[in-house]
Amino acid sequence: MDFANLASQLNAGTILPEGIVIITLMAVLIVDLILGRTSSRWIGYLAIAGLLAAIVALCFKWDAINPIAFSGSFNGDDLSIVFRGIIALSAVVTILMSIRYIEQSGTALAEFIAILLTATLGGMFLSGASELVMIFISLETLSISSYLLTGYTKRDPRSNEAALKYLLIGASSTAVFLYGVSLLYGLSGGQTELGAIANGIAQANVGQSLGLVIALVFVIAGIGFKISAAPFHQWTPDVYEGAPTPVIAFLSVGSKAAGFALAIRLLTTAFPLVAEEWRFVFTALAVLSMILGNVVALAQTSMKRMLAYSSIAQAGFVMIGLIAGTDAGYASMIFYLLVYLFMNLCGFTCVILFSLRTGTDQITEYSGLYQKDPLLTLALSLSLLSLGGIPPLAGFFGKIYLFWAGWQAGLYWLVLLGLVTSVVSIYYYIRVVKMMVVKEPQEMSDVVKNYPEIRWNLPGFRPLQVGLIVTLIATTLAGILSNPLFTLANNSVTHTAILQTAAVVSNQVSVIPAEKPEGL
């Protein structure tokens, strides 16, 4: 193999965005080592600049002629680009939030950012990984960084507990995932590349065998953990409550997007033979997540816990697109994840801002806030209403597209359940709005009575404000001006080879069992 051939096999330019993130990560670490604490004033902006550069680099990779890199272990197709963009963007906003939050907790900012960038890196690689080892390594990079981030405020016992819980559940679910993956390796006759696995399984004629089903279930257990689908959701409320809020913001968007990226790629490429089965399993997960997430969120008193259950529920909505399995279905997932980024991060920014000023995040403590902090009230109200799917906000269009795609794919009951649980969700989202807007001045909580004067010029508040306003504007307008985002989501699906071939294969699959019943 001569060098030119090797270079074209490697095609290392595909991971340029990740390369930029790695360089930024190193820069952040080294600068911190050399300059120490004094650098914390600008190191956040360095990381943001790096991430934005990575996003720009992603734009240049759009519609790449040869997206396959590293001899097939990384696929830089448009689908991966969209997900990598979502993960990088969520990291940007998370850093904007965390500059003040981490400073206030008395821990080092640079270390935090370094771990966060590692998690981002893991997530970005996961979005494009198309080989079992690569998938597992990037998944572990993401997970291990997430455990560290969860327990980052180490003097807080709740943060410790959350980290322990997350670690124990996370490690065991990755072990289960690993077992499923190793089964795939065995079943396919020693293939690790996803496309080759599908071929290997088809050739070995073990389609729809018990082994494949077990592998599928084990893999889904790992994915379900990442996207916090019920019944793999138990870590979510506790971790969300204990972990530092910016970390939660990242986990709820970045980590979840990575999980969905993995789900799409792995399930459509490696499991075309059991497409019916994984659709069925995900239907069950979606039903459980929508019901449990929305119903249990009704009874929460802590804002972060409420948002935890809400994120379980939102995962249920997104799964409708995955189950639909059509172009519109995948596109609606991507569109929803995009707008989910804006609305959830806007909501979490408000939660951080409120807890920075008052030191609490109980829902009842928000009462009467409109008088003291109108901007926060407006932003939190709009982001929560958008999560509830109220027009003309971004979440409304996201949900409409999901439901429309679901309906087109014939998932009537799922869509109806989604509609019903949306109504339930409006109730608990509006409860917070009611606390903030409806309560009279005399019903103001003690915390709000002593609300500090709003000053944006304190260190670290300016980036929070920028993050808040940008996400707020995006939440408000991304629905009305949704055409570019829709085009982006649709193109990323139609330009992606794996989704197009998978659609063909899964159509053929329905014929195969009829011809070869003895294969069962």
Binding site: I390, F403, Y412, V415, L419, V437, V438, N483
Partner: protein
């Protein structure tokens, strides 16, 4: 041209809501929003002038592509079914703003929410795209919730959340049906004319139609789904109650006519007998419950349920005459309910109570509220269907048009019309007549407070004497709508009706 009706209120709502006090000081907010509502009303009247009565289709159409993937386009148009509703909306918005308290607390939010609702309702009546309609329909949800639960009465929190949930459920049902209609017919766009349900099997049409009826039935409201209404109407302050009853309820009946009858003409004739009986039951129920009430606002609220029952009866009978009656009834009910709520609001503000047992002798010329009581008598009469007032015209057309198709339900509705007279006589007797307490000393009603009632009262009288101005707008459109209902099905309807 039509966009003005939507966007002037919505944009000014945003401006009023967000701009700091220097541009629109809090003390001026009411004046500014009144001016805006006035401009919109004038523009609406201008459209009415330009409206071509002989054209049964959509007029002043506007089209902008919006979101191709979803099949959502910005498509507006007005026809005989919606023109009166638009006028009602802008008129009542103006009156609601005018009749609101001069020193409402948090005026900025209050008036911007009202304007937002006004723009949203106009959008819903104008939309020619199912998703666009739904978007505007759901836009009302949060503003009304806030208006009820911030500026409402004692139990406003309960009433607000109840309203919210019922309306959200109604929205979910409607969305599910819309998605179903468009998907099952294989259309790629949600535009009205792109969706034709004729190709569907009778069973599917029936299921979808039931979805429409239940969804809009909550909003109208029909009897088992009406329980949000008394709470919401009673706990809302007078201007909000005017908007709720006058405008929002019409959105329900409009939706039923436009999407139920207009899009499922065949299935409509199958469910029509049930609907007619349902309407009659609603009417009777509303009237009977109203008789039992001790609170005048509650009485008026239940009267609204009764009157909406007539609209249902008329739409079920689907004769050309009955449909004209339905539209007229929607319009006159809007006027009558608005004046009633306005007067009740004044009585409550001046006397301090709404209890029938405590009110007395308001007719007393010196110490009472003579003009208000007189207007109350007039509007009570209008509501009960006394000739010479617009309520009679509308009800009479409804009954006349429905009798040939559904004789029994029509008779029941006539009976409930009689019962309406009963509870209004009770109401008037207990409030306006009798002897005033010696301790009573009510503040004067200034002229400015009487203006909305006088405007509405003169409209009610004028349309009662000159009913042509009420019915001419919708005649051609409704005739065209009836024509889509196949004649064979019509005979089935009458056969079914005869069997009963």
């Amino acid at each position: 041209m039509l966009s003005v009706l939507i966007w002037i209120p919505i944009l000014s709502a945003i401006i009023i809501g967000f701009l700091p006090g220097k541009v629109v000081p809090a003390s001026r907010v009411r004046l500014v929003s009144l001016t805006i509502a006035g401009i919109v009303l004038l523009w609406n009247l201008f459209i009415l002038l330009k409206f071509d009565i002989s054209n049964p289709g959509m007029q002043f159409r506007e089209y902008l592509p919006w979101n191709e993937t979803l099949g959502l386009s910005y498509q507006l148009g007005v026809d005989g079914l919606s023109i009166l509703m638009l006028i009602l909306n802008s008129l009542l918005t103006w009156i609601a703003i005018y009749s609101s308290d001069k020193d409402t607390h948090r005026p900025r939010l209050f008036y911007s929410l009202i304007l937002l609702i006004s723009g949203g309702v106009a959008g819903a009546f104008l939309a020619e795209n199912l998703l666009l309609f739904f978007l505007f329909y759901e836009l009302e949800l949060i503003p009304f919730y806030l208006l009820i639960s911030i500026w409402g009465g004692e139990k406003r929190a309960y009433a607000g959340i109840k309203f919210l949930i019922y309306t959200a459920v109604s929205g979910a049902l409607i969305l599910a049906t819309f998605l179903g209609m468009v998907f099952l017919t294989g259309s790629t766009s949600f535009a009205f004319d792109a969706v034709s349900t004729q190709t569907l099997s009778a069973g599917l049409q029936f299921i979808l139609l039931v979805g429409i009826i239940l969804g809009f039935g909550i909003k109208i409201p029909l009897v088992p789904f009406h329980t949000w209404l008394p709470d919401a109407y009673v706990e809302a302050s007078a201007p909000i109650a005017i908007l709720l009853g006058g405008v929002l309820a019409k959105l329900g009946t409009y939706g039923l006519l436009r999407f139920g009858m207009g899009m499922f003409p065949e299935a409509w004739s199958v469910v029509a007998p049930t609907l007619a009986i349902w309407g009659a039951i609603s009417a009777i129920y509303g009237a009977v419950i109203a008789i039992a009430q001790k609170d005048i606002k509650r009485m008026v609220a239940y009267s609204s349920i009764g009157h909406m029952g007539y609209v249902l009866l008329a739409s079920a009978s689907s004769t050309a005459l009955a449909l004209v009656g339905a539209v007229s009834q929607m319009f006159s009910h809007g006027l009558i309910l608005a004046i009633l709520f306005h007067l009740v609001g004044i009585v409550e503000a001046k006397v301090g109570t709404r209890e029938l047992d405590k009110l007395n002798g308001l007719m007393s010329p010196i110490r009472g509220l003579p003009l208000i009581s007189a207007l109350l008598v007039l509007s009570g009469m209008a509501s009960a269907g006394i000739p010479g007032l617009t309520g009679f015209i509308a009800e009479f057309i409804v009954f006349q048009g429905s009798f040939s198709v559904f004789p029994l339900p029509t008779l029941l509705c006539v009976a409930s019309s009689g019962l309406t007279a009963v509870y209004f006589v009770i109401l008037l007797n207990r409030t306006c007549f009798g002897k005033l307490d010696n301790l009573a000393y009510y503040p004067k009603v200034v002229w400015a407070e009487k203006i909305p009632a006088l405007v509405l009262a003169s409209l009610i009288i004028f349309l009662g004497i000159q009913p042509n101005w009420l019915v001419r707008w919708s005649e051609n459109t409704t005739t065209a709508m009836i024509a889509t209902i196949p004649p064979i099905e019509k005979t089935i309807v009458s056969q079914v009706a005869l069997k009963q």
